[in-house]
């Protein structure tokens, strides 16, 4: 059952590669059908509340690669597949303006397959290979429209990401030389039997640098504003919504919590990195007048919130971090899809030239209002609940100044999004935008579904639903903490 998540998108990608040039409908059909099947399957697996394993090739571990679906993986899997489905539905009318649509959908499905496989695999070198594959697919997709700025953004993204992953590879080599096995559960067993603090500290530094480059933590974030603002909008939504989480944050917390156990010193490092990301991201977003670049800087800030929550290490903190991760996927993708809808209708992303669009584009305007209120943390939308839990967990752990910083950053986020709403959607309608029409109905459909999820995800904290969704994930991470 778990291999379907890898086989189906790869099958779809190869069929589109073979036949897509000659018939447009095959690529469109595969583009939305496969994410639809997989999202239904992933929600069914999440509600089944058990741990799934699968041995590839029939080889028992530690000889072969195993696929493991425990609480953490299944939660991320459900989020990834649903957001990919929304982006796939959105991109069917969006891609009408460009040529070579079959390459877009083939690479889209390869990226989807790599994200699914990176979440499920239980072997550390296999994780690295799938992260590289997803990365290569996204380097080409970022520069899909061959214009000067997209190419420059794609080059910067490719070089920075490759250097980071080479550091990860060095760390994997040292870990293999020490433990002589590549299976993650086996390495955890060997490391708890014979600890070696100096070597493990060096490996942890390499992993934080490498996976931090993929997850856009602050000293390594320089590729994110360029790449996320230059990509086509559904790809921006995927990159910012799920790729930096599935290939970056998930890999970091899986390796740090479950393979190399977490101790107090490591928790301090993650908390400090999270704080710096929060503050730097929101301060740099003040000066931006480009809609998508502003959203990209806010992505850095929200990833800081997630790392702050997870780095606290208490059950409430990890719950807050994971809940904020789920929420951020939903509302950040919705914001990027809105920016794409604005660009599709008006042709520009500059906030100073837009104005008063909510009269002409009602669905885009109202969903953008819902998403802005979610990210700023206004009750009763989902962003409020997750930020509240993180701030409460900070105070419960005794770190009052962290809670204070989190509240201040949330206020600055609110002010930044008030600016976006005022300049883009409310205000005077300029002369050139008198003839605007609403975007096609498929794009509206995906935006409406995502905004309904924004409104309704506060219900995930009800204890009956929480025991399915979040408690297995929190217990998986808590088991790996020593001290």
């Amino acid at each position: 059952m778990l291999t379907l998540f890898i086989i189906l998108p790869l099958c779809g990608a190869f069929i589109i590669f073979l036949a897509g040039k000659y018939s447009k409908h095959i690529s469109y059909f595969m583009g939305w059908f496969i994410p639809a099947i997989l999202s239904i399957l992933s929600i069914k697996l999440l509600l089944a509340k058990e741990v799934f394993t699968y041995n590839i090739g029939g080889w028992a571990p530690p000889l072969g690669i195993t696929l493991v679906g425990d609480g953490l993986s299944l939660l991320f899997l459900a989020v990834v597949n649903v957001v990919v489905l929304m982006a796939a539905i959105y991109s069917i009318p969006y891609i009408e303006k460009y040529t070579s649509k079959w390459i877009y959908f083939a690479l889209f499905l390869v990226m989807h397959a790599s994200m699914n496989a990176a979440l499920l695999t239980g072997d550390i070198f296999n994780l690295f290979v799938w992260i590289e594959i997803g990365g290569i697919a996204s380097y080409i997709l970022v520069s899909y429209v061959v214009e000067p700025e997209q190419l420059e953004a794609s080059f910067k993204y490719a070089v920075l990401s490759s250097v980071g992953l080479l550091m990860v590879l060095l760390g994997i080599g040292l870990l293999y030389a020490y433990a002589s096995t590549l299976n993650m559960a086996d390495i955890a067993r060997v490391l708890s039997a014979k600890p070696n603090p100096k070597l493990i500290n060096f490996i942890v530094v390499l992993f934080i640098v490498g996976f931090g480059t993929k997850a856009a933590i602050v000293p390594f974030h320089a590729w994110l504003p360029d790449a996320h603002s230059s990509a086509p909008s559904p790809i921006s939504a995927l990159l910012s919504g799920v790729l930096i989480k599935s290939l970056g944050v998930y890999a970091l917390i899986r390796v740090l919590f479950n393979v190399i156990g977490m101790n107090a010193q490591l928790k301090e490092v993650i908390i400090v990195l999270g704080c710096i990301s929060m503050v730097v991201g929101v301060l740099l977003a003040f000066y931006q007048w480009d809609f998508k670049r502003l959203l990209a800087y806010h992505s850095i800030s929200q990833i800081g919130y997630i790392l702050l929550g997870i780095g606290l290490g208490t059950p409430l903190g990890i719950l807050g971090g994971l809940f904020h991760l789920v929420n951020h996927s939903v509302f950040k993708s919705l914001l990027f899809l809105n920016a794409g809808a604005v660009e599709y209708s008006t042709g520009t992303r500059d906030l100073k030239q837009l104005g008063g669009l909510s009269g002409k584009m009602p669905i885009t305007g109202s969903t953008s209002l819902i998403a802005s209120m979610s990210i700023a943390g206004i009750p009763p939308f989902n962003g409020f609940w997750s930020k509240f839990i993180i701030i409460f967990a900070c105070i419960q752990a005794g770190k009052f100044w962290l809670g204070f910083i989190a509240v201040v950053v949330s206020l600055l986020t609110l002010s930044s999004f008030l600016k976006v709403q005022k300049y883009a959607f409310f205000g005077e309608l300029k002369e050139q935008w008198k003839e605007l029409k609403e975007v096609p109905w498929l794009m509206c459909l995906s935006m409406i579904i995502l905004s309904l999820m924004c409104i309704g995800f506060g219900l995930l904290l009800v204890p009956a639903i929480r025991s399915f969704v979040f408690d297995p994930a929190v217990s998986v991470l808590l088991n790996g903490i020593k001290i």
Binding site: I7, G58, I103
Partner: protein
């Protein structure tokens, strides 16, 4: 003095190429077929097979090389190789696990005769599939780098390859 011809390289290189291309291709095929017995296998063997086609292109010019092996054939081979690898995995999926060696009989340690060429189940088939993809992929990349003319391109044209 030997004049340099308009396309390709001089006469000496063309004469030698006619003999060595066949040898390189045969060596590549040997490398692929013995992947499960000795060092070798799909990736390196595929690259060697691709090198023979590039050898023709360097010596004779790109028009001669790509008259027989057209671009459409190369793109078809990439898709076919990758798809047949996945198909082998799916056939194994229906008989046990994904990528299971479905020629295996339970209770017997070896599939076929040890150390003979037609043994060890699906491994030679997977070698053939991946080497087809790697060889044609390498040729396609080389073609894209050579055929590309700078100075063209307008807004909203899709892709490079």
């Amino acid at each position: 003095m030997i004049k340099k011809p308009a396309q390709g390289m001089t006469l000496i290189v063309k004469t030698i190429t006619r003999y060595t291309v066949v040898l390189i291709l045969m060596f590549g095929m040997y490398f692929i077929m013995n992947g499960h017995l000795v060092h070798g296998g799909c990736f390196a063997g595929g690259i060697i097979v691709a090198l023979s086609i590039i050898h023709i292109m360097l010596a004779f010019g790109k028009d001669v090389a790509f008259k027989r092996i057209t671009e459409r054939a190369i793109k078809l081979c990439i898709g076919l190789g990758a798809f047949s690898f996945l198909l082998l995995g799916i056939i194994g999926f229906t008989k046990g696990a994904f990528l299971y060696n479905f020629f295996r009989k339970p209770g017997v340690d070896y599939i076929g005769q040890p150390f003979s060429l037609f043994s060890s189940g699906i491994m030679p088939l997977m070698n053939l599939a991946i080497s087809l993809t790697v060889a044609s992929g390498f040729c396609a990349i080389f073609l894209a780098l050579i055929v590309y003319k700078p100075g063209g391109g307008d807004k909203n044209t899709g892709r490079k390859l």
